[in-house]
Amino acid sequence: MFFRLLIWITLILICFPALADTAIGYRLFAKSSQANSTSIFNVTDENDSFSHSQLNELYAKLQVKGFNLLATYNVTFNEDRETEDDGVLNEAYYDFSASSLDFTIGKKVLSWGVGYGFRPLDLIQQENRRVLISQNLEGVLLTSAEYYTGNSAISFLITNRELISDRQSRSKDHEAAVKLYSLYNDWDLHGVGHYSEVFGASFGLGFSTIVGDELEVHASSTYRSRYHKLINVLTESNETFALTDPVYEKHYNDCINAVLGFSWTFQSGITVIGEAWHDCTAYTYSEWAAMRDLTKQQQLLLSSLPQAAQDATETQIQGNQRYFNQANILQNNLFTRLSYDGEKTDPYLDVLLTPDDGGVVLSTSIEHEIKQNILLYANARYFTGRSSSAYKQLGNRALIYLGFRAEFVL
């Protein structure tokens, strides 16, 4: 199906280049990750060795008279696993106007929030804002109607989204949302309301504004009536071993997410970003500490168990790492980034701190344009901080990416 689609796209690109804005691109990344042998989640005898993989992404995009299409084909070559390939129709939607309303129908990426590291207003599609290598996002199926005035807008939309649970089971969620935008003097004001069959009602407010020539300030907050987290049931009892998978989706009610931040750009080309955020859907310090203590106890038990029980416990220790499968591990986060906007070379260095447990994530990147539309990248991330912190206990100690991207307009 996907290859048939690619053939159609290619034909359109070749036959009608003058009618549409079309581009094809290719990205290649070599990824090296260093294992963290001192992690309490480590159940192998490996030292801090590096494993390697190579990510290839071929994408095509087309835009003509409100019709938009973005498709990607990814191939990942792994050192220790089979090659994976995956074709994704990221976006296919049509923007059109009728009377004084503007409509969108199809599959589209939705991004509503303000800020850099975390955007609470992204109620429908919350991307991980801190991935080291950003890939093309996959949109959601939606129908929207919008009304614009000179400096305000109101949007209504309904979506039909597929949710994939931790255990890979799929379910449908139907959502309805309203988004308000207004430019009031120097302030960009945002308001969102959202209802989902799965997550209930949510609403939020946000703003961004400019102070002087160099400073941008933003903040947003949302209330969520329902949310869930993965919790290990053993952390809620005195047991250390379960006969079945002990990690389950625990449902909660009523919480508040918030972000406050700024970006300051100097004439030298240096920009400083600072942000603090609270993500109530992440783990509290006590939830993380309970998981950490449970895993330590399971590790202590290992040597005294018969082989079969040892294997099962190791599986449960590895399963505990699912606590790390979310954008924010702990609720409270402080973030700062120093970047430089050069003519050909754009480097940055950023630090994420989780003050509750003393975890630190250092990330750096350098992007260099060697020729028009051909970029070289080098990105690295190092997890450190207090030895008991979540980031210090991740399965990987460091990640390194080297790659390039080329894009051509047809």
Binding site: D21, A23, K61, Q63, K65, G66, N68, L70, D95, F96, S97, D102, T104, K108, V109, L110, S111, W112, G113, V114, N136, L137, Y148, T149, G150, N151, S152, A153, S155, Y181, L183, D186, D188, S208, T209, I210, G212, D213, E214, L215, E216, H218, S263, T265, F266, Q267, G269, T271, D341, E343, Q372, N373, L375, E407, F408, V409
Partner: protein
């Protein structure tokens, strides 16, 4: 009594002189603007060539929609930038990057540092943004008998805080501009090329010599300029996510 009368006459004449000078400058700038932008609502197709050490390094295409009220929308048309747009409303700026669906509010400094020429190609009027004085008449610039103006920005968010502008003494056609940053630093020299577009005398190209990155030179070619009216909603920051722009 006589002394007092003389004093008031002098003050009156001085005030009249200032008023006349102001009017002169405004009308000069309006005339000069007319060579760069004629009409209230326009679509200007622009090609920007960046040269480093006199070698073509980057070529970019832009469609610039301009509307009254200091509104302009720059649509990027080149590889790697396809889908990118910059919106300027008075002294406020937004950008939407390729493959993203969220307009980002940016500071005037980010606009200045970002795409080298966006501020230069999206702002085509001096008369609305600057005021100043005549420094010199009958000065020769680029071999042309010129008038030299010293302009200061009257608005927040202009790319250049101060401009020394040389206009043809005869018809106020722009010849050259020295472009200064807020810090007082001379950032660029702009040279305006005389030509014909739509059967009228126009600035058909602008060469920007970068005096900070001294190896760099940018040539902005105004490929076409047509009257094009797009609805006000296209200049709404929230509308940047939409893609049903007219050609």
């Amino acid at each position: 009594m006589f002394k007092n009368s003389c004093f008031f006459i002098v003050i009156f004449l001085f005030a009249c002189h200032i008023s006349v000078a102001d009017d002169d400058i405004k009308s000069m700038l309006k005339t000069a603007d007319g060579y760069r932008q004629q009409g209230e609502e326009l679509l200007i197709k622009t090609e920007v060539n960046l040269y480093i050490k006199d070698k073509l390094d980057k070529q970019s295409l832009y469609h610039v929609f301009v509307k009254s009220g200091r509104r302009s929308l720059v649509v990027f048309k080149s590889a790697g930038e396809l889908g990118q747009k910059v919106l300027m409303l008075d002294d406020k700026f937004w950008i939407i990057l390729p493959n993203t669906r969220r307009p980002i509010r940016i500071t005037p400094m980010q606009k200045l540092l970002g795409e080298a020429s966006v501020g230069d190609i999206a702002t085509l009027t001096w008369s609305e943004d600057y005021d100043g004085t005549i420094i010199e008449h009958n000065i020769t610039e680029q071999g042309i008998n010129s008038i030299k103006l010293d302009l200061n920005s009257t608005r927040k968010g202009t790319t250049y805080h101060r401009i020394e502008l040389f206009l043809n003494q005869k018809d106020y056609f722009p010849i050259k501009a020295n472009l200064y940053l807020k810090s007082g630093k001379l950032a660029k020299e702009a040279y305006y090329e005389n030509g014909t577009m739509n059967d009228q005398r126009r600035v058909v190209a602008m060469t920007l010599v970068d005096l900070i990155n001294k190896d760099q030179k940018t040539i902005v070619n105004y490929e076409s300029m047509e009257n094009k009216s797009i609805p006000d909603k296209f200049y709404n920051p929230a509308f940047l996510v939409r893609t049903d722009l007219p050609d």
